[in-house]
Amino acid sequence: MMTAFWETEGLQTLGIVVLVFASIKLLHLMGLISFSEDSVEDELELSAVRHRPEGLEQLEAQTRFSRKELQILYRGFKNECPSGVVNEETFKEIYSQFFPQGDASTYAHFLFNAFDTDHNGSVSFEDFVMGLSILLRGTVQEKLNWAFNLYDINKDGYITKEEMLDIMKAIYDMMGKCTYPMLKEETPRQHVEVFFQKMDKNKDGVVTIDEFIDCCQNDENIMRSMHLFESVL
């Protein structure tokens, strides 16, 4: 008898507790009360960064492009990035469109770092056009410098095998899966070995800028290919 009584009592208490919790949850859901202190919804990000490039004359002076070429470049740039700067995501997207078969995002990341000379996380039109000026209109020395800068991921003046391997893997990633002959796991590594054998004169495991430039200038293939893209614009 008593147990039956306690059973009903217990069930009643349980019922009331459940009811109370349910009502609190309902109120919370309706937004009338909030629990945590920092439950402020995310404030809207500051409006998109807008950047206006320096004047045409200044850019003309700083780069080796003509006025018309700068106009064309800017129009294309602004079309794709109306806000005037490219962040890394957009950069990767744009670059990946040229390599639909593989994954170009890693290499795009390195490229981005190479273009973003002031390392502020975005590439403005000036950075863009400076980089292009070197690549398309610069001397061989400047181009090789730029390439070295690309490979040197941590910008310490030395290219280590690991850095080179990263770059190599990124390049091979762009190829994608369907290649002939089949891409094997150790292909990038082998390629890095070949590279280091050629470049690393004193066999200390790193390539310095002088070794790099020296070696490239002595290589006919590389010299010829440096002039390949001069008529691009």
Partner: protein
């Protein structure tokens, strides 16, 4: 690749310098830029609205009109721009496609107009961007459905009864009660009998007073058993006959037997026959009584008579998933609450909640807010949970119902639209036909007018009217009429208007019945039907149906004195014979004329070509 990104190709190529030191093999030679195209502005004048863009922008898509040399056809030297006589509003979107690489579909434009513009400018619609693609596809589908509907309507209503076999005729009568009066009568009779049968079933069970030697009330069915039996028999006979007729007339018997309506028909009449068979067996009479329940399915036969009922059925079928969800969620809730109520009320003495299944009844009654009151919770907890149960019941049931309602509404409106289109179709066709007749009448007038213009004699009042009309004829019209005239001359046939032609058809049938002539006439039943039904066909062949040329021509001449007078007055057409109205005169001349013609037209039944230099047989074409 989006066009906008194409602007970054120089950058990507420049960045390729980063690969050079790593490469072990020499690079391929870059393609030579044949010429540096001048990046000039192009002016596109679309119906007065000037659009300007860079030449390079347009040349991004070389397989479209604007990107290829095809645009040179539209170059306007005087103003040094490209002129297109098209809709500027839609052109805006097309030009945006060149600029951004994304094609958008504006919602307020008509889908066919948009499609036409796309086709004109050589852009395939499949590249419409994701943002607008769904909308575009939906509109396109609706349009296609509308066209398909129209076509179906055309096809189904155009087959004239003459060509149908008896079976097809019967089937049409059944499916479309408005096709003939017999069908309509049948439709109403069956409807009446369905109603009678259902009412008889209902009234049968009403208590009807007591027999003198019994104290219990008996139902009407038992009291007037014979009358009800006769009524039932009559109804079932009608239904059986109808079912058998439908079965005979159905184009695909197997498909018909599988259809829902036929199953309902069978289920409606089966109990009667089964009852006939087993009247004397007491054991099975219990089952027989159960079978009588199925007689109520006769009420479903009304769905042939009511479109609304069919729509309801179709809606329920199409909302099967929502209904399933409703059922599932209800079942879940019922089980949960029944369990809770059972355990809550377990302690209370003399509680009706004896088991969980017993609690199901309470839960269902509460959740659907019926609240019979035969089972109520007595404990506080039970009451609390009972109230939660009724609140949640309201919510759970109210949620899927609007989905079903909106589905029903959509289907209903669709069928309304289809009905409206059907109703408007008649007026629409009449409009089209009137326009065509105006055209042919204009041509008739032109002919009379054009040939009379040489003479000042006004032989008929039509000429007078036509003369006045001639001055007002735009050059387009006169060129069109000249073209039709040339066609007449080529084929040695003439255009006539519809009344004349129909009169000819009747004449032909009259002549055929009188049965004179030769073998060529024997082919005229086909010719008759093809002749009269030709106006239903869509093809515009001018070949004569394989009837006798002579017959037609004689009749033709008799009907159109105007033609004769005109032709006699026309000095230019020296190849015409002077034809007069009298039949007797005509027939021999026709015979002599047509002899050479018949040779050439033997075999294919068309009277064109070779003889026309000698004579013209004026026969009705069209």
């Amino acid at each position: 690749m989006a066009a906008g990104v194409a602007a970054w190709l120089p950058f990507a190529r420049a960045a390729a310098i980063g690969w050079m030191p790593v490469a072990s093999t020499p690079m391929p030679i870059p393609p030579q830029d044949r010429r540096k195209p001048q990046d000039g502005l192009i002016i596109l004048n679309v119906s007065g609205t000037r659009f300007q863009t860079w030449r390079n922008t347009l040349e991004r898509y070389p397989d479209t009109l604007l990107g290829s040399t095809e645009r040179d056809f539209f170059f306007h030297e005087e103003t040094n721009e490209y002129f297109f006589d098209r809709d500027p509003d839609i052109f805006r979107h097309i030009l945006n496609f060149y600029r951004t690489g994304k094609l958008h579909y504006p919602r307020q434009e008509c889908i066919s107009a948009y499609d036409e513009e796309l086709a004109f400018f050589g852009i395939i619609p499949e590249i419409i961007g994701d943002c607008c693609y769904e909308e575009y596809k939906d509109r396109r589908r609706e349009n296609a459905e509308r066209l398909q509907d129209d076509e179906d309507m055309d096809m189904s209503n155009d087959v004239t009864p003459v060509n149908l076999t008896f079976r097809e005729y019967l089937w049409r009568a059944f499916e479309n009660p408005h096709s003939s009066t017999l069908a309509l009568v049948f439709y109403y009779v069956t409807g009446f009998f369905i109603a009678i049968s259902v009412m008889a079933n209902v009234v049968e069970t009403v208590p009807c007073g007591t027999l003198p030697n019994r104290s219990k009330e008996i139902s009407c069915g038992e009291r007037y058993a014979l009358a009800f039996f006769c009524l039932d028999t009559a109804c079932v006979m009608i239904f059986t006959v109808e079912y058998l007729l439908r079965l005979i007339a159905a184009p695909s018997r197997y498909k018909f037997m599988k259809s829902v309506m036929s199953v309902i028909d069978v289920v409606a009449i089966m109990p009667y026959y089964i009852g006939l068979v087993m009247t004397d067996n007491d054991q099975l009479s219990g089952a027989f009584v159960t079978l009588r329940v199925f007689r109520v399915f006769r009420i479903f036969k009304f769905s042939r008579h009511s479109a609304g009922l069919r729509i309801l059925g179709y809606t329920l079928k199409s909302c099967a998933s929502e209904l399933g969800f409703l059922l599932f969620s209800l079942t879940m809730a019922i089980i949960i609450f029944a369990t809770v109520m059972f355990y809550a009320e377990k302690g209370s003495p003399a509680s009706k909640f004896t088991s969980i299944p017993a609690a199901f009844w309470y839960t269902i009654v509460t959740m659907t807010t019926l609240g019979y009151g035969d089972m109520v919770p007595k404990t506080i907890v039970g009451k609390v949970f009972g109230s939660i149960c009724s609140l949640s019941g309201v919510l759970v049931i109210a949620l899927p119902v609007p989905v079903i309602v909106s589905n029903f509404s959509r289907i209903y409106h669709q069928s309304q639209r289809a009905e409206k289109r059907r109703a408007q179709r008649k007026t629409r066709l009449a409009r089209i036909r009137a326009a065509k007749i105006r055209g042919t009448n204009a041509y008739m007038r032109y002919k009379q007018n054009g040939l009379l213009i040489d003479t000042l004699k006004e032989a008929s009042k039509e000429a007078g009217r036509a003369l006045i009309g001639k001055a007002a004829n735009p050059p387009f019209e006169s060129q069109h009429h000249h073209l039709l005239h040339c066609l007449e001359k080529t084929t040695n046939h003439e255009f006539v208007d519809e009344q004349t032609f129909q009169a000819n058809c009747m004449e032909i049938s009259a002549v055929h019945k009188s049965g004179s002539r030769s073998s060529s006439l024997s082919s005229s039943p086909h010719g008759l039907s093809s002749c009269c039904s030709r106006r239903h066909r869509k093809k515009n062949s001018f070949s004569l149906p394989s009837t006798n040329n002579q017959e037609l021509s004689t009749i033709q001449i008799r009907e159109r004195p105007v033609v004769n007078s005109r032709s006699s007055l026309n000095a230019k057409l020296d190849e015409t014979m002077p034809l007069k109205c009298e039949e007797a005169y005509i027939t021999p001349s026709m015979v002599s004329l047509s002899a050479p013609v018949m040779i050439s037209s033997d075999g294919d039944g068309s009277t064109t070509t070779t003889a026309y230099s000698q004579s013209i047989v004026r026969v009705s074409a069209l």
